[in-house]
Symmetry: D2
Subunit: 354 residues, 4 copies
Amino acid sequence: MAGNSIGKIFTLTTFGESHGPALGGIIDGCPAGLKINLKTINDDLNRRRPGQSEIVTQRNEADSVEFLSGIFKDKTTGTPIGFIIKNKDQKSKDYKHIMNSYRPSHADFVYDKKYGFRDYRGGGRSSARETVVRVVAGSIAKQLINPVKINAFVSSVGEISMDTDFSKVNFNNTEKSIVRCPDAKVAKKMEELIKKTRKVGDTVGGVVSCIIKNVPIGLGEPVFNKLHSELGKAMLSINAVKGFEFGSGFKGSKMKGSEHNDIFTKDGKTMTNLSGGIQGGISNGMDIYFNVAFKPVSTIMKDQDTINSKGKSVKIKGKGRHDPCVVPRAVPIVEAMSAIVIADFYLLSRLSKI
Amino acid sequence: MAGNSIGKIFTLTTFGESHGPALGGIIDGCPAGLKINLKTINDDLNRRRPGQSEIVTQRNEADSVEFLSGIFKDKTTGTPIGFIIKNKDQKSKDYKHIMNSYRPSHADFVYDKKYGFRDYRGGGRSSARETVVRVVAGSIAKQLINPVKINAFVSSVGEISMDTDFSKVNFNNTEKSIVRCPDAKVAKKMEELIKKTRKVGDTVGGVVSCIIKNVPIGLGEPVFNKLHSELGKAMLSINAVKGFEFGSGFKGSKMKGSEHNDIFTKDGKTMTNLSGGIQGGISNGMDIYFNVAFKPVSTIMKDQDTINSKGKSVKIKGKGRHDPCVVPRAVPIVEAMSAIVIADFYLLSRLSKI
Amino acid sequence: MAGNSIGKIFTLTTFGESHGPALGGIIDGCPAGLKINLKTINDDLNRRRPGQSEIVTQRNEADSVEFLSGIFKDKTTGTPIGFIIKNKDQKSKDYKHIMNSYRPSHADFVYDKKYGFRDYRGGGRSSARETVVRVVAGSIAKQLINPVKINAFVSSVGEISMDTDFSKVNFNNTEKSIVRCPDAKVAKKMEELIKKTRKVGDTVGGVVSCIIKNVPIGLGEPVFNKLHSELGKAMLSINAVKGFEFGSGFKGSKMKGSEHNDIFTKDGKTMTNLSGGIQGGISNGMDIYFNVAFKPVSTIMKDQDTINSKGKSVKIKGKGRHDPCVVPRAVPIVEAMSAIVIADFYLLSRLSKI
Amino acid sequence: MAGNSIGKIFTLTTFGESHGPALGGIIDGCPAGLKINLKTINDDLNRRRPGQSEIVTQRNEADSVEFLSGIFKDKTTGTPIGFIIKNKDQKSKDYKHIMNSYRPSHADFVYDKKYGFRDYRGGGRSSARETVVRVVAGSIAKQLINPVKINAFVSSVGEISMDTDFSKVNFNNTEKSIVRCPDAKVAKKMEELIKKTRKVGDTVGGVVSCIIKNVPIGLGEPVFNKLHSELGKAMLSINAVKGFEFGSGFKGSKMKGSEHNDIFTKDGKTMTNLSGGIQGGISNGMDIYFNVAFKPVSTIMKDQDTINSKGKSVKIKGKGRHDPCVVPRAVPIVEAMSAIVIADFYLLSRLSKI
C-alpha cells in the first residue's frame, strides 16, 4: 500500500488498524518553536471519540495520544513528531462472522482482491478508526496556523437540512448539540431522525460544512495543487465521503457569469463570495467554505445477502456497535483535514517570492 | 510555484503561459514498449481546441504537439516524454487593459499578491490554455490503460439537465453534438441556451459527467490516496471547477444504509452501483462514474466594476474572444485527467502483492 | 525538519530521539503477502546494539522492536508497518554539561542555529541511536528482496586495512570477529588498535565495505536516481560517514579506458567488474560493491575547548559511554540501508515495461 | 523510467536524448522576482560545450537555450520555467554499428534488458549530452543563492594531482587553463597527458573538486536528506562518477577523534575544517568542499571485443568523436548540481522555525 502520507512540507504519515495494538503517525515538517497545547488535542479527540453521546456508536474508546518525539519542554523541536494512540475496547470476536464474507459496500472484497488476504478484524486499515490519527495531526496543524479559524458543523442529515446563510452561522452553538448542527431547531430534528433510524437498525447519511476564516491571501499552488484541489482530496480521503463542493459548488454550475462574478471593493475584498475564498487555486483572503457529503454507514443492524470469499451466497448478520450516522463525529475530522492542508500551504507560501 | 506535477509513477509535469512561445510537459514513468498512436492524440486535441464550433471561443488555435523525446520508432522507450505545443494565435495586445486591473473572479489579484507581479497577458499561467498539455498526457495515458474506456459528456448547462440513467448513455452520440451531450434533444436546448447567453455577452456554467468502464479491480491506495480522492483532486484542478461527486454523490447523503448498500452477486459484481465503482478507495470492477461542476466563465462581454493594483476603483471592458460556456471543451480535459489518474494507479497496483 | 523519509515505493519514515520514550518508523509500500521472520530482525538489531562486545559503547540497550500494524498472521498485509523501539538505558543526567555548550564536530551548534533550540539530551535526533529504526526496516527489506545477499564488513580501522580481493572474501568469518572484519589476522590488529585507542580516551575512524550478490539486472532509474546515486545518498545519510565509492571508485579515476572497460562474455556477464555491478545507473547482474568511509567518533574522553551558546569559551569534559570506533556497529546499518535502496528499486523495476 | 526529477522545492525535471530533436527541462519552485541574467547561463553552457578546446570532443554543439515560460520582463514569475536546447550537430549514422552491439561499460546492455529495446543513437538518454539541461538549471540556481559562490576545478587527471591546500586555491586561474586546473604547472602536465592519451586512442579518468563559500548556517535536513547526502547523490548522478567524499573524506577514516574534531572559536567558526562545512548534515557556515571521482570515458578509439543482442561475440569499432578525458567539461556540471542542491535547501531552510 502506498498512500499513507499527506502533505508536501507539513507531512503526516499514518499507520494502524482498528484491532491492532495501536494506531499512530509521524508529522514531519512542523517548524521548530511551536508551543503545543495538549489540552486542545485531547478536546479534539473527545469530539471524535466513540461513545460520546447517545447518537453515536457505543464502543468506548477514550482515545489518548502519547507523543514519542519531536516535542521538548512543550515546544516542537523541528524533528519529526511521532505519536501513538492505543486501541483499548476492541472486541475482535465480534468480527469472526465476516472473516470470509464480504460486507456490502465495505472494503472487504477489494482488500482481498488487491492484497490477496486481509486483516478482517473490524475492517482493519479500512476502518474509520484510522481517522483518530488525523485528528491529532490536525490539532497540531491548527495551532501552527493560528489565527486561522476552522469551523465545521453538520448542515444536513438525510433529508433534513439547515439553510442558514453561511455568513450568519453562530459557531458557538455547534458543540451545544450532540449532532453538531449550530441551528438548535434543525439539530433537534436531526437528532430525532438519527435515533429513529438507529431504532430500525438502519443508518443515514449527511453533509458536513466547513468555514475557514482569517486565511492569509496567497495560499495554494496552481496548477495541480490548487488550494481547493488539495482540500477536496483531503475531504474525499475521509471514510464514507461521496462529494465535495466549495464556494457556489454545484449550484454555481447553474448560474450566469454576470451573477457569479465577485466584484472587488477598494479594500481588496469582494462584495459577494461565490468564489468561496479561492480564485485560480489561491486563497484571496475571503472566507473559504465547502460542503462534504457522507453516505450512510454501510454497517446496518439488519441481515444482508452477500457472498463469501469463494463466491458463494451467504447471509451476513447485522451486529456489533456502530454509528447510525457518521456526520456528528466527522466534524472534527473535517476540521483536522482542513488544518493539515492549510498548514502545508501556509508553509509553502513562504517560498513564493525571493 | 510548486504544484505543476501530478502522479506518483505516471507523472506529468507541465509548464507554459497562454501568451508565451509554447506550453509543454514531461511525462516521466510511462513504461517502455507502448505503441503510440499520434492520430488519437491529435483527435483529443481537436476536441479541446478553440474555434472548433460556433458555441466556443473563436480564437483559432489548431494545436499541434511536437514530441521531443521518449518515443523511438513509434514506441515509448521508457525515458521521459518531453513535448511542446506552440502558441500561435496570440493577440497580446488584447490584454493591455488588464495590465493593472483585476478582472473579477479571475486569478489576477491573487497572483499579484502571491508572486509580487504577474504575466498579465491572457491570464498567463492561470489561463485554461494550460489544459492543452493535460490533453496530450491524458491521451497517452488512455493508450496505456487500454482496454479501460473513459467517456465524459456534458450532462447539464445552466438549468438544462440530461436525466438519462448513467447505465444507458449512448456514448456514440456525444461527439455528434457540438455541446457534447449524448441526448440529442437536450443537447439542442443546451446549444440554444449557450447561443442566447453569448448574444447578451454573458456566460453560463454546467456539469461534465464521466463514466469509466473496464477498470480492473484493485486500483487505488488507501488511506490518503484513495482512487476517488485522486480523481477528485484531478478534476478540481481543472480551471473553473467548483465541485466533484462520485457514485451516489450528494444525493447519497440523503439516503439510508439499507437503500445505499450495493449487494454482491455471485460473480463478484454488485446489483446496484451507488458506490460508483469504488469501495474503501479501491476500484471494485464496476463502472466508475462522477460529476464535475463548472462555474460560468468569468470573462463576460459586459463592463464590470473592479479595482486596479493601487486599490482604485476602475471599470473593466468586456472584450476579447472567450467561451460563453466552458463545458463542451472541458469534456476531453475531464477524460484526460481521468486517464492520468487511472494510469498512475494501474501501474502502482502492480506493487500491491509480492 | 523535512527529510525523515527515504524511498519512493518502499518508503521508510522515522522518528525519535536518543532520550525520548521511544524511536520508531513507518514502512509504507511493502507489498502484501511477505512472510516476516522476526528472529532475523532481532539478529540484525543485536548486531547493531550497544554493549555487544568490549570494543563498543558500554551503554546497554537490548533493543526490542514492537510491531503495531501491517503484519497479520506473520505476513505483511500491504498496509503500513508501524513499529517502535523503546529507549531504556537512558541516563539523561549525563548530558547536563552540554546543555549550553557545543561539542566539537557534533550537531549541537547547527541544531541550535537552525531550529532556535535543541533537545540536548544525548544529541537528540542527531544521535546515531536513530539508526536502530533503519536496521528494523532494512531487515524487512532484506526479506523482501531475497535471494539478494547483502554482506557488509569492516575493511579498515585507522591505518589498518584488509587487502583481500573483494571476490574472495569469506563472509562466514565476518561475525566471528567482534570487529566484523572477515580476515581473522587483520581483525585481530584492528581490535587491538581500537582497545589501545579507547585506553587513551580517543576514537578512530574506519571503512565499511559491502558486497551485494544476486542482484537482478535492471534495478536503478536514470537520470537522477541512478542505483549508485541512491546507494551513495543512503550511505552518506548514516552518521559519521565522509565518503562513498563504488566499483573502481577513486582508484578508477587514475585508470585508462582500455584498462577500465569491462568486456562482456557470451553469457552477458563481464570478465572484470570495475563497474561495480552498475552501468548507466542500472544493475547489470554482476556483484555490486562499495566502500563507506566513517570519521572517528567526535565524542572523546578528553577535555576539549569549545564555546557555549553565548559564544563564550568553555571547556567540555570528556565523559559518558561512547564507541571508540563506530565501524563494527555500522556494519548492519550499511546492510540495512543497502536493503532499503535495493527493495525500492526492485519494486520500481516492475514498472519499466508495459 | 522514473528518476528524472531532482529537488523537493527547487525541482528540476528533465528530458531528452542525444539524437532527438531537443533536450529540455522544467524548473518548478523557483520563487518569483528573481532577475535572470541570460549571459551567465550562456557562459556556463559554453564551459560545458563540446568543441571548446583541443582536449575535448570535436563534436560541435554550440548549445543555446530557449526559455518557453516562467520568465517575464527578465524576472521569474513564480510559474514553472520550461526550456529546451536543440540538438544540432548529430550524426546518427555514426551509431549504426552499435545498433545491436553492446559497448563495454556503457549502458547499452542494461537499457536493452530493462526496457526491452533502446534508442541506440549516441547512447540516447544515457548519453552525457543530458547534462546540458543540468547546466541551465544550475545556472539559474546559482543566481538564486547569490552570494553563495561555487567553484569547481580539476584536481587530478590520471596519476597527476594538484596538491594545493584547498583554502589556498586561486579560482581565477581555473578558466585560464583548458583543463580547468587552477595550478598552471599541474594543468600543463594534465593537458599533455590528455593529448598523449588521445593520440593512442585511449581515455583517462580524473577528479573534480569543488569548494562552496558563503553558505548560510542551517542548510540541510537530517536524517535522510543531510546536506552532504544530497550533494553526494547529485554528484553520483553525473555520468561516469565513481566516488564522492567531503571534508576529510576517505582520509578522515584513518584519523583519530582528537585530530579530527574541529574546535570552535568565539565567532562560531572552527579552527580547522575537517567537517567540510557540514555537521550532523547541516551547513555550519564554513566552506563546503568535496571531491568527485570520474572514471575514464568508456568510448575508446580502439577495437574491443563484446557481444551483440543475441549473445554472439562481435568486435566493436572505435570511432566517433569523443572526449579523451571528461573532467574539464565536468567542472560546470559539478557546479550546476551543487547549485541545484544548495538552492533547494536554501528554500527549505526558510521553514525550519515558526
